[in-house]
Amino acid sequence: MILDVVAVAAGGAVGALLRFAAIRRAEARTGAAARPWDRVARATLGANVGGCLLLGVWVAAAGAGRIAGDWPPAAANALDLFVLTGVCGGWTTFSTIVADGARLRAERGPASALGYAAATLAAGILALWLGLRLGT
């Protein structure tokens, strides 16, 4: 149990740092004054797609017994929690999708916000599908 808690916390920190690095890089590249919605939204979309891809690869490879196949069950379970609940869960985010959507709705209308949410969902499902293929 304590192992699970440590695994989730460590994974969450790693995942959040990966997402933060993408946001910082996007801000540095485009310049702070240029179109705040676009640069942050692209970084968030990239983080969300990356997390779904990793999740797909991990689920497929672990399901095939190719990761930690001969580990004790408690350790293998903690590793799963580290990668899936921690890293993938912390790398991807939902709150920022909503924040970007709210800004889009205010600036360009509700259709843009719904389109952004639907596009993120489609990209995530595609990344998951690709990851499951790559991991098998």
């Binding site: 699970d4 808690v5 989730v8 916390a9 460590a10 994974g11 969450g12 920190a13 790693v14 995942g15 959040a16 740092l17 997402r19 933060f20 946001i23 702070a32 969300n48 997390g51 779904c52 990793l54 999740l55 689920v59 929690l81 899936l84 609940t85 921690g86 993938c88 869960g89 912390g90 790398w91 991807t92 985010t93 939902f94 709150s95 920022t96 999708i97 909503v98 924040a99 959507g101 709210a102 709705r105 916000a113 719904l114 949410a117 639907a118 993120t120 969902l121 995530g124 499902i125 990344a127 998951l128």
Partner: protein, 140 residues
Amino acid sequence: MPEPTPPQPVWMPTAAVAAGGALGALARFGVEVALLATVDSVLLAASLSLGAVNVLGAAGLGGLLGWIDRHGGPDALRPLVGIGGLGAFTTFSGFVAHLRVLEAEAGAWATALFFMGSCCAAGVLFDAARNAPADGAGPS
């Protein structure tokens, strides 16, 4: 409008994001474990957990951004609570993975409704939390 922030050392927001990310992921894990222990159906427990975590986390981000709009607050607040904490408390990969299970059980329309419904509910609460003064100062 947020005023331009002066240059700050890189380690400060980085450490804040890592700490917030650890706590946010742990809180999400806690909600999931608690619901799995109390709700009989695994599918229902997972759906409730993902829906609750994501909608509440988005509403919380609205409240945080509104508070920062009005009061400013320390530089570490947004990296710690917003990007790290609520960013990692909410999840998209878990949502997408869960949609696969839900689609097999309940069909594609249920999954699309679940995601877009969560987005709309979260969007309404986000706006309400961002614009509602938590300190009773009145709308500005």
